[in-house]
């Protein structure tokens, strides 16, 4: 556990293999923060596109016909729990507990994969029910936004698998706490983005549809969300 103590060292005495930096923040960690700032604008633009086109589709299926909020609530819960597992993994790495780190990493990977599984199921179901990428504005914006989010999660899963493999092969302290911490930043960010997407596309936009076809409860809900949006 040669690295366990160095991770707590103050910036004035960084671990031997980390470069000294002006701010004391590691280069790679700062890079990740800057990247996440950039990614905010990426998802922000995609979400803005969705919101601009919300309710503008000319032909169906409309969100109300097809969005299944309960199922996605389950997958959202799974993704949130994966963030919990990630936090525990980062803590294990900080304490230098390699065995626990590997366990938490794999739990994060499994939970993330379950989320992706839900998404694959959902996309396939939508396709079967007649919502293809080129069907209407809803389908184009929905698949693009959630697809790019899914791609981010998938990339994160591959990253965590790499970390887990490295950890399994190196009982002496790799990946470093920092390696895990940076992956954790990414993972939590992708999770937070999903919370925004779930709120806007499912909880608020999931009941969208042409008003004449809707029953009173849905119309009431649309009225409420219309006030918000």
């Amino acid at each position: 556990m040669a690295h366990a103590d160095t991770t707590h060292a103050p910036p004035a005495h960084p671990p031997a293999h980390e470069e000294e930096t002006t701010t004391g923040i590691n280069h790679r960690k700062l890079l990740m923060w800057v990247f996440l700032g950039s990614d905010c604008l990426f998802f922000g633009s995609l979400i803005a596109t969705y919101m601009v086109y919300r309710g503008q589709s000319i032909v169906g299926p409309y969100p109300r016909d097809i969005i299944d909020v309960p199922i996605t609530t389950v997958s959202t819960f799974v993704l949130l729990m994966s963030s919990f597992a990630m936090v525990m993994g980062v803590a294990a790495a900080r304490n230098g507990n390699q065995k626990r780190l590997i366990q938490w990493l794999w739990l994060t990977i499994v939970l993330g994969s379950i989320f992706i599984g839900f998404q694959v199921y959902e996309f396939n179901l939508f396709r079967v029910e007649g919502l293809r990428y080129e069907t209407n504005l809803f389908s184009s914006t929905f698949f693009t936004l959630t697809g790019f989010h899914g791609a981010h999660v998938t990339l994160g899963i591959f990253w965590l698998i790499c970390l887990a493999i490295v950890a399994a092969r190196n009982p002496a302290g790799r990946p470093s706490h920092l390696d895990v911490d940076i992956a954790g930043l990414y993972w939590h960010f992708v999770d937070i983005v999903w919370i925004v997407i779930f709120t806007l596309l499912y909880l608020i936009g999931g009941f969208d549809g042409p008003p004449e076809a809707g029953h009173a409860a849905v119309q009431g809900w649309n009225w409420v969300t219309g006030l918000i949006s």
Binding site: T21, S45, Y133, L137
Partner: protein
């Protein structure tokens, strides 16, 4: 740990072609950026020349309307994304580590990746010429000119996918320089002791990082529409073409400042040096730069005044656009205040810098005139706008870039350029530039629309266009003189010495050209204009400050060359290029594109499995 290294042994030499392909040295990457940018500057210039020759007189038939469309599209795209931006990157790369007292950027291999991705993206864009598929919807490519039914062929696909690749390069560079400037400053170099050029690079990099995701999304949507049948800008499905304009200009206006802020940084270094005075109001100049960057997010709809966004939107954007002229004006007063009662030395870099200030004022004033939306209704889509954009981007950015090239020429090459030829270059370019673009104000106010490939006689536009075309050729002559001066001086120029200008910044404290490790001993900064402080203190003791003596490079641990960035860039451009393959069977392009993804992944894995620097001199260390 047993590291997985590549099948090819890691390069370790500093000579030959292979060393350039695998270099991670920021100075070499800067040089590569510079030559590539100049190459594309010439390409964009030739495209401009074709337009000027076509428009020289009424009812001219040198080129067809279609070809003219391709020319103005590629001229704008090339100059903005493949000339001015990489010129900026040239200075960032070469100078930032030297100015902040660092040995390299924070991520040297990422830096190499940025360059190769930029080069491949630019080549992919121009590959369209080889198969006659040239983008032709303007550099802004408004929807729904870009929709498949209205733009057949692959031209717009080349445009969208190549720009996506160029965006990857810019983002990677932006990340790198933000981290480098925040995290790699020499001891004592607090933020408010950084040279203004470093500050402007930081601001530009932050703008890059935040603005490029927006164009990325816009291009994803355009590509999805064209390649996969999505409906983002498909009016038949309820899509709104105005969305493209919002996304494009929300990126596009910060982009304008991405183009001009580096030039402002360059000029802020040159004017104090040649006025023998510290910059007047240093914190105000920096604050203005930051304010410009923030406000650049709130002015985009002034590109869209005639779209019909309504009176309130037009009024708001009129006000914000006029406001952004304030910090810009503040900077101009600071430069003039620096020159005021300074002992001015009118060398070529200083002439170029003063030319920048003068021409940028003209461009700024015409800019304010169409910040007013009722006035803009008269000017929209006329040559008046063409005149404005060229006063800020040619008179501004290009003059700033040439000022920087002359100023740092002795540092980069170790030789002194020919001063007389430099001054002739300046005067010819200054006269040619004004002769080309000033008449466009009148042509525009006289009603000549932009982007027309010819015009009938009787409108009274011939004279102005003839002047503009003559001006173009004067600019060409001035650039030929520059090229001659540049290459002749490398061979035959006098030795420049390490500090020919008695300059205030750290890059002048080391030999010219700088050694591979930059600083043998990391400098300690004790104030603003750090090298002036060192020199004044030495002068008080009756001494002069020599260049830092060279040491054996092997004693300094530097990042090792790597071929993985090149492979990764190649994979990235293959992903984009694969989607452009058209061999009859439509779906072949997806698997071909997928191969690019595999190459990218191989590149990334190889990259992450090799250490940043090979351990030549130490034991295995932490591995």
């Amino acid at each position: 740990m047993v590291t997985i290294t590549g099948v090819i042994p890691r390069p370790s030499t500093y000579t030959g072609l292979w060393s350039w392909l695998t270099t991670v040295d920021h100075k070499r990457i800067g040089a590569l950026y510079g030559f590539s940018a100049f190459f594309f500057f010439v390409v964009g210039g030739i495209e401009a020349g074709i337009m000027r020759l076509q428009l020289v007189t009424s009812d001219n038939s040198l080129v067809s309307a279609d070809w003219f469309n391709a020319m103005f599209t590629m001229h704008g795209t090339t100059m903005i994304f493949m000339a001015i931006m990489p010129f900026g990157a040239t200075f960032f790369n070469f100078l930032i580590p030297l100015m902040i007292g660092a040995r390299d950027v924070a991520f040297p291999r990422l830096n190499a990746f940025s360059y190769w991705t930029f080069l491949f993206g630019a080549l992919l864009m121009h590959a369209g010429f080889l198969i006659g598929q040239v983008p032709d919807a303007g550099w802004f490519s408004y929807a729904n000119l870009t929709a498949a039914p209205f733009s057949e062929g692959k031209g717009l696909d080349f445009w969208a996918l190549s720009l996506q690749v160029l965006g990857v390069a810019s983002l990677a560079a932006g990340f790198n320089f933000v981290v480098t400037i925040i995290n790699m400053r020499a001891p004592g170099m607090s933020l408010m002791r950084m040279p203004v050029f470093v500050w402007m690079t930081l601001v530009t990099s932050i703008l890059l990082v935040l603005a490029f995701p927006i164009i990325t999304v816009a291009l994803i949507e355009l590509t999805a529409d064209r390649q996969f049948g999505a409906n983002f800008f498909n009016t038949a499905a309820g899509g709104d073409p105005i969305l493209w304009q919002h996304l494009f200009w929300l990126f596009g206006h910060p982009e304008v400042y991405i183009l001009i802020l580096p030039a402002m940084g360059v000029v802020s270094e040159i004017i104090p040096t040649f006025s023998r005075k510290p910059l007047f109001g240093y914190p105000v100049v920096i604050f203005s730069g930051i304010v410009i960057a923030i406000m650049s997010w709130a002015v985009w709809s002034h590109h869209m005044f005639t779209v019909g966004l309504g009176a309130i939107a037009n009024s708001v954007f009129t006000i914000t656009t006029m406001l952004i002229a304030v910090p810009t004006g503040v900077k101009i007063f600071n430069w003039i205040g620096t020159m005021w009662s300074g002992s001015i030395d009118l060398r070529t870099p200083m002439l170029m810098a003063i030319g920048f200030v003068a021409l940028f004022i003209v461009g700024g004033l015409s800019g304010v005139s169409h910040a007013v939306s009722p006035s803009d209704f008269q000017q929209q889509d006329t040559y008046y706008i063409v005149a404005h954009i060229h006063y800020v981007l040619f008179g501004g950015a290009i003059f700033g870039i040439f000022a920087g090239i002359y100023y740092w020429y002795p540092k980069i090459t170790g030789k002194m350029y020919n001063e007389l030829l430099g001054k002739i270059h300046f005067w010819l370019m200054f006269i040619g530039m004004n002769l080309t673009f000033f008449p466009m104000h009148y042509a525009g106010l006289n009603g000549m629309p932009r982007r027309i490939y010819t015009y009938a006689e009787g409108f009274g536009w011939e004279g102005m266009n003839l002047l503009a075309t003559i001006g173009y050729f004067i600019i060409v002559i001035s650039l030929l003189i520059f090229i001659h001066n540049f290459f002749r001086s490398i061979k035959k120029g006098e030795e420049a010495g390490h500090d020919p200008w008695d300059a205030p910044t750290l890059e002048w404290s080391i030999s010219s050209p700088p050694p591979v490790y930059n600083f043998a001993e990391v400098p300690v900064v004790r104030g603003q204009d750090a090298y002036w402080i060192t020199k004044r203190e030495a002068a008080a003791r009756g001494e002069t400050v020599p260049a830092e003596p060279h040491v054996d490079p092997d004693t300094i641990h530097m990042p090792s060359p790597s071929y993985w960035p090149l492979i990764t860039s190649f994979g990235v451009v293959w992903i984009a290029g694969g989607l452009l393959i058209d061999v009859g069977w439509d779906y072949i392009r997806f698997p071909i594109s997928f191969i690019g993804g595999i190459i990218t992944i191989i590149g990334v894995i190889g990259w992450s499995n090799e250490p940043a620097a090979e351990e030549h001199h130490e034991a295995a260390g932490h591995h």
